[in-house]
């Protein structure tokens, strides 16, 4: 057996592909996967929302309420008054799967939020702006409309999928749910134009049901001129740049249903 010294010309153990190209392919793939997951989560939200039972929804409340826990509670008297108004709306004019509960927070933003589990969070700033009881009742009824149509769950967006899964598997107080909850920014919750219109329609009907007239329904929208940037106005206006359109819609509905207007009952946030 003789030995022939010979070296291979080509290195078969190293792939000839360029590393830059591989990086591009892999990074592109990763990006595509992320986009795909994002879209899938969007679909998952639509699937989950109608199937979420009220009992499960109430268990989800914990992580969400923590997102506003850094605001101080406003005076209990104010809360009780708003709650009384809400209770009247609930018992007389709306059928909800669970009783709604009001939380008044001391923030100066003009905002109201519908949290899962029937927790309506209203900021003091909004109460300060409100001039009549009817006006406040419309805001509350509008939020109730979101509950009826479950928009408050859709508005949370894709994070809802993670929070639902973690709450159902690990319990409402698991660290995972806490981390997810703290990463949320619910003051930026968005609703689509169709969702707002539906909630407005419900609000108008409830207002008529409670008082027998719809006076004060559009007052809140008229507080900001149509061309003004909502700026310090929070969710309640932030997602509705077209206040003019909403006012028109409410007035049109008032005419179509033959609702009448009457002077509203005055309301002051400070007793």
């Amino acid at each position: 057996m003789k030995y022939t010294p010979r070296l291979p010309e080509r290195n078969d153990n190293v792939s000839p592909a360029s590393p830059i190209k591989e990086l591009a392919v892999l990074a592109g793939g990763l990006l595509a996967a992320i986009v795909g997951i994002y879209l899938l989560l969007g679909i998952a939200v639509d699937i989950i929302v109608p199937r979420l039972s009220p009992a499960v929804e109430q268990r989800l409340a914990g992580p969400f309420l923590r997102t506003v826990s850094h605001f101080d509670d406003a005076a209990e008297g104010t809360r009780a008054r708003v709650q009384r108004l809400l209770d009247r709306l609930q018992t007389d004019c709306a059928e909800l799967p669970f009783p709604l509960q009001v939380h008044v927070k001391a923030g100066q933003t003009i905002n109201a939020l519908a949290f899962p589990g029937g927790h309506i969070v209203i900021f003091q700033g909004l109460l300060d702006e409100v001039a009549s009881e009817n006006e406040l009742a419309f805001v509350l009824a509008h939020e109730m409309g979101h509950y009826i149509h479950r928009d408050h769950l859709r508005g949370i967006g894709r994070a809802l999928v993670f929070i639902t899964v973690s709450t159902l598997t690990l319990g409402p107080d698991s660290p995972v749910a806490n981390v997810l909850g703290s990463a949320l920014n619910l003051t930026e919750m968005r609703f689509s134009r169709a969702q707002e219109t539906r909630a407005d329609t419900f609000g108008l009907d409830a207002l008529h049901c409670l008082y027998g007239h719809v006076g004060g329904s559009t007052d809140f929208f008229q507080k900001i001129p149509a061309d003004q940037d909502p700026g310090r106005f929070g969710h309640y206006f932030a997602s509705h740049p077209e206040n003019r359109r909403r006012i028109d819609h409410l007035e049109e509905m008032t005419r179509a249903r033959g609702y009448v207007s009457a002077p509203p009952i005055p309301f002051s946030s400070s007793e």
Partner: protein
Amino acid sequence: MSDRFNVIFKGEVLSGVDPLAARKTVAQLLKVDTAKAEELFGGQPTVLRRDVDRTTAEKIQRALQNAGADCELVPLEDGAAPAADTPADSPPAPPRADAPQEAVVHHYFETEEGHQMIVTNIETIPGKTIVEHFGLVSGSTIRAKHIGRDIMASLKNLVGGELKGYTQLMAESRRQATERMIAQARQIGANAIINVRYSTSSVAQGAAELYAYGTAVKFV
């Protein structure tokens, strides 16, 4: 005179041939180990084939001569009992009557490109003579399974059992490593790789590294 023969080997080596080399080749030819080969060359006559026709006997003789050894063809007499003095421990697997070179069926490793090569993990290729070697050749791959399989595997870790995905991963990679080794061997002009060894290591998490190496040789 009958035309039936016994092929008897007495350990004779053709002149001018290195006895050591001849012994090795004959051992390969007859598919016997070194100890047996030494016994064959010990001088005691051994019957390699019994009662074969002339052409077959001559073929065996030629093959042995090619290997550097010689044998005797003893014609069978009617009624004779030539087997009487035959040692009981004649070679256990004497070459078949037709050409001894083809006595062993060789399985070739077929690569995806359709190249064939004999790959063994013993020192020789039975039935063939290795004439030349080119040193070490090797092939390696590192392969990772996608994350879904990784998750399934970690779930499987709870209950135990075979990780089919990983078995497949390892098998595929090992095959690729072998093919790369063969590609290297082809480049330097070898037609077989002997004494192949495999080794596995985990280079990165979730990825396995397979390595095959052996000695590239040329046989005839």
